[in-house]
């Protein structure tokens, strides 16, 4: 029965019908009676002392209901960092308070210092302009090196701009230094992993409401994890009892990480709702999104690779400055450390890895996890330095990688950076990549390009990442202040259809299609009879949400466990109905039968019986058919891949065009190949965007120069090629019931180094000795690099 819609079927995404016909229901679409509007007054300077805020004129403006400033939130808690990182000397990280509204000082352009609530958005905006804020501008801390050297502090009370100085693995430091000192060949590369603005299509939006009769709060918000938001608001920021706060994230138009975190605007609309007894809505405009959504990446790294005379990798050593911006966003401290340093052995049998990360406060927007979160930074550093090393010692970049790959018979493999990889086959991925990309035809294509006066390059890359972000035990040891499991409830309704409440949140991933495929396969029923419920803390059991490519691996596993419990109970009911022993009940294709007889009942009949328990063995079985499971995996999952791309460069202008892009990934088992392909496409587009186009630029005063689409280049359809995507080389994850690994971020992790490697190959083919260009590899940068090398 489920064969046309169960595991492995390329079912089209059912949620797309509403998204494509304009019937999605996003937060801003929700309109309530007596709703009023919040508008924030935001700093136009990057660093400044708030001397006074005079709201008298603003308060007298038409329609104004209330005005809040930082004063109003001095008593409430701060928005915390979710991971505690200790420095090399054992000192805990510096954790300055992140207030709801800036108090005392503004610390980045866009930092909100006041909020106006008025009857209409227009009135609130007009009034916000009338707030007289006397803010004394101070010199801004923008560049990370200057931040560490100087005595101009983003947070005066901590007396430094260094959040932490982290070493991984500290015990390997001396041995790594020694290996590098004595190595036959050391390749050194300094690079920048460019800061990115997430640019979800839907800007952030939050609606707070309060019921004075019951004291219940409701927050509708653009979140990737409503339970986490509730936890942060309840336990840390506002102290609202958890059972008095419902957080609902309805349809969410993309997040890419930026909607994981709790933001001050969410707290503000709740506080305002309580004060006014009105529903208060705030919707960001695009400029606010540029200025205040947590940005991504922004690492400056020096990486060294030591090799012996045969090209065997001996050690990787890195020094990274990671910008955390003006305040610690919730995962800001985990991203450059445990999601980055632990991956720094890549796909390789390198025996020694040492990673040093200094996290730095600057007067810029907070930086946090963005699609890939730490793993793209690790992959980029590794795969660029390996490529450079191959060129330095005259080896083919693919061969050098293959020589150092972990081999299939070495799993489970304890990497030099502290993780245990469960499965993989990197040579098989490379083989497949070379086949489907028609690598053999590259020479002919290069000749064709050259005949047109263009340079063509081939870039290759291998990656491994850790996703399915969990397990609680491991992340707890690594500093996480939360557990990272997930939960699901499978509710079989009396009429036989199902509601499955999941802790994962779908904001573009396709859960509403894919999760039913899993349940349908297990129960032998029509997937269309299964509805996924997500994004509402009052409806779902619990959940840590969606990020880190964890939904299927972690929450999907919880769904499996809950469905197994359903089958167990249903068997008991069927046994009773069929007057047989439970051990004799066989369940296949949606039917319960008694082995060796023709007696059977359907799944639907059992469901009905569960809710109409006439003649029911109530002493043995409770009525109803509903089960919940929490799932906490044993390990991360480890997707891996081999990517390649071909670029053409116009040597006169420096313009790079990606002509071909191939992604061969090991995602373990694949539930819906079409959805997986779509996830890879999206990731590749973002990766190409980072490699060629996207650049977040602050000037020396901390003004964001790339603050709109006029200056921030997003990839458009004609910037990306037709992708060749293959996931036939899956090696099942060994520790989750579905054998799945996670596919949401891979494309964005694997593609940037592939593109840059190809650019370098193309330029070198033209006889110019260019060894590295920082992303985005814009026409101007390529031209300048080629010019300098001439």
């Amino acid at each position: 029965m489920p064969k046309d819609g169960g595991i492995g079927a390329a079912t089209t995404r059912r949620e797309d019908v509403r998204f494509l016909t304009g019937t999605g229901r996003y937060t801003d679409d929700i309109q309530t009676h007596a709703e009023c509007a919040a508008i924030f007054a935001r700093s136009t300077v990057a660093n400044g002392i708030i001397k006074s805020i005079d709201t008298t004129a603003a308060a007298a403006m038409p329609g104004v209901l209330a005005i809040f400033t930082g004063e109003d939130f001095v008593e409430v808690g701060g928005n915390p960092a979710g991971w505690l990182i200790n420095s090399r000397d054992g000192e805990p990280m510096k954790e300055p308070k992140r207030p709801v509204l800036a108090h005392g000082k503004v610390r980045h352009v866009g930092d909100a210092y006041a909020a106006v609530i008025a009857e209409t958005v227009q009135q609130a905006r007009d009034a916000a302009e009338m707030i007289e804020a006397d803010i004394e501008e101070l010199p801004a801390v923008v560049n990370m090196k200057d931040a560490l050297a100087g005595d101009n502090f983003v947070h005066d009370e901590i007396g430094t701009n260094q959040c932490f100085d982290w070493g991984w693995i500290e015990d390997n430091r001396a041995a790594t230094d020694e290996a590098i000192k004595n190595a036959h060949h050391v390749t050194t590369l300094e690079l920048v992993n460019n800061r990115l603005v997430p640019n979800a299509m839907e800007p952030r939006c939050s609606i707070g409401s309060y019921h004075p009769g019951t004291g219940d709060y409701t927050l509708h918000t653009t979140s990737q994890n409503p339970h986490l938001t509730r936890l942060l608001i309840s336990a840390f920021v506002m102290g609202i009892p958890e059972n008095k706060l419902t957080v609902i994230a309805p349809d969410v138009g993309g997040g890419f990480g930026s909607k994981i975190y709790h933001y001050g605007e969410e707290a503000l609309v709740l506080a305002a709702a309580k004060k006014l007894g009105r529903t208060v809505k705030w919707t960001a405009d695009r400029s606010e999104a540029f200025l205040t959504d947590a940005h991504g990446r922004d690492h400056v790294t020096k990486i060294e690779l030591a090799m012996d005379k045969d090209g065997n990798f001996l050690a990787f050593r890195t020094e990274t400055h990671a910008n955390v911006g003006a305040y610690l966003s919730n995962f800001a401290t985990a991203t450059p450390t445990f999601l980055h340093g632990t991956l720094m052995a890549g796909n390789y049998t390198v025996p020694l890895v040492y990673v040093n990360v200094k996290a730095v406060f600057t007067n810029t927007a907070p930086v946090d996890a963005y699609r890939g979160a730490g793993r793209p930074e690790a992959t980029y550093s590794l795969e660029r330095v390996i490529d450079m090393a191959a060129r330095e010692i005259g080896r083919d970049p693919t061969d050098l990688r293959r020589q150092n790959f972990i081999k299939p018979d070495q799993y489970p493999y304890a990497s030099a950076a502290g993780l245990e990889y469960d499965s993989g086959n990197y040579d098989a991925l490379m083989d497949k990549m070379e086949e489907v990309s028609d690598k053999a035809g590259f020479a002919a294509r290069r000749a064709e390009s050259e005949a047109k006066g263009l340079l063509r390059g081939f870039g290759v890359n291998a990656y491994i990442e850790a996703c399915g972000i969990a397990p609680s035990n491991l992340v707890g040891i690594l500093g996480s202040r939360v557990g990272l499991y997930d939960a699901a409830t499978v509710r079989v309704n009396a009429t036989g259809n199902l509601s499955v409440m999941v802790g994962a949140h779908s904001h573009g991933q396709g859960h509403e299609t894919v999760f039913p495929q899993v349940v349908a396969e297990m129960l032998g029923i029509d997937p269309m009879s299964i509805e996924i419920v997500h994004g509402d803390t009052s409806k779902i059991p619990f959940g840590m949400g969606t990020y880190g490519s964890r939904s299927l691996a972690v929450c999907g596993s919880a769904v499996v466990r809950a469905t197994e419990k359903i089958i167990n109970k249903a068997k008991k009911i069927a046994a009773h109905m069929l007057e047989a022993a439970e051990a004799d009940i066989d369940f296949t294709d949606g039917e319960f039968s008694v082995a060796g007889t023709d007696k059977k009942v359907s799944f639907g009949e059992v469901a009905l019986k569960a809710y109409i328990p006439h003649n029911f063995p109530l002493e043995d079985i409770e009525p109803g058919l509903e089960e919940t499971a929490f799932y906490d995996p044993a390990n991360f999952t480890y997707p891996s891949g081999a990517y390649c791309c071909e670029v053409e460069i116009d040597p006169e202008t420096g313009k790079v065009r990606v002509d071909r892009m191939t992604a061969v990934d090991d995602f373990g088992n694949v539930i819906n190949p079409m959805v997986v392909t779509g996830q890879v496409h999206g990731g590749l587009g973002q990766g190409i965007g980072q490699a060629l186009l996207e650049n977040t630029t602050y000037d020396e005063n901390g003004q964001l120069l790339s603050a709109s689409y006029m200056d921030y280049a997003m990839p458009r359809a004609d910037d990306v090629p037709y992708y060749i995507v293959d996931h036939s080389q899956g090696n099942a994850c060994t520790h989750n019931p579905l054998g799945v690994k996670g596919c949401g971020e891979a494309g964005a992790i694997g593609s940037p180094p592939t593109v840059v490697n190809a650019v370098i190959d193309a330029i070198q083919s033209g006889g110019m000795n260019v060894t590295h260009i920082d992303m985005p590899v814009s026409p101007h940068r390529v031209w300048a690099a080629m010019n300098n090398a001439k």
């Binding site: 060629l692 186009l693 790339s706 006029m710 200056d711 921030y712 280049a713 026409p779 101007h780």
Partner: protein
């Protein structure tokens, strides 16, 4: 956006009268003005929409020139000028995206004179005449630096009249984010003279490259540019390209425009 009133006159005369109110501003396709209003960077009390004025619509050719009404949208020029002045039609077809091309007008573009806009290069290289409600202005006198023109307060661009060259081409190297011209060069070859106009590159806005014009008037081939250099002085230096890069692109784009001119 601040609140404003809007009027939609049917004749140029009525529009001119309406614009005599100092808090009134002309609205063409709104592709520049509306985003400015949304960002609250301008606060006109009244917008005078020019889109209902039929005498400012459409195009006609007369005596070797193509006259385009100031209210004509880019999409119309892209299709209807294709047979008469293909280089101009091609330029129009690469402005912005379909939404921009179906709202934005030639009069708005010429009046705004964005330093990276496309039409100003075409007008200057073609030696066009800017026709307003009160006079005719030669393109050489009209463009006066970035966002600056010879227009008086309340003056309306009712038409632009382009002499049609023997050959022409506009070569645009796009700024990756906005896709306006990082450097755009329009080359127009007439029987007796070649005119070259450069947009996107200079702090002074659209301008002619006279050294190239002389070289190309003697020998209309990309090779004629070989010995010329473009000074980076006064060229724009921003996050998308240095002045030196723009100087380099001016020459490359000019060469390509010459080679592709037809």
């Amino acid at each position: 956006m601040y609140a404003f009133d809007i009027e939609r006159p049917a004749t140029v005369a009525d529009a001119v009268a309406a614009l005599s109110n100092e808090d009134a501003q002309a609205l063409g396709g709104g592709q520049t003005l509306i985003p400015t209003l949304k960002a609250r960077l301008a606060s006109p009390e009244k917008l005078i929409s020019l889109s209902g004025i039929s005498e400012m619509q459409g195009m006609s050719s007369e005596g070797g020139a193509l006259r385009i009404g100031g209210g004509t949208i880019h999409a119309t020029v892209a299709t209807e000028a294709a047979a008469i002045y293909p280089a101009l039609a091609a330029l129009a077809s690469h402005i912005g995206d379909p939404a921009v091309r179906n709202r934005g007008t030639i009069g708005g573009s010429i009046a705004n004179n964005d330093p990276a806009a496309c039409y100003p290069a075409a007008a200057l290289a073609s030696g066009a005449t800017i026709v307003t409600n009160s006079r005719e202005i030669a393109a050489d006198d009209y463009f006066q630096g970035m966002f600056t023109t010879a227009l008086d307060e309340g003056e309306i661009v009712t038409a632009v009249s382009f002499p049609i060259p023997e050959k022409a081409h506009y070569e645009k190297f796009v700024q990756p984010a906005s896709r306006f011209a990082l450097v755009g060069v329009y080359v127009a070859k007439f029987a007796d003279v070649v005119r070259v106009a450069v947009t996107g590159a200079s702090n002074e806005g659209v301008h002619r490259w006279t050294a190239a014009e002389e070289a190309l008037s003697a020998n209309f081939s990309a090779d004629a540019l070989a010995d010329l250099t473009v000074s980076a002085d006064d060229l724009i230096n921003d996050l998308h390209g240095s002045a030196e890069y723009r100087a380099h692109l001016v020459k490359v784009m000019t060469g390509r425009a010459v080679s592709k001119a037809k």
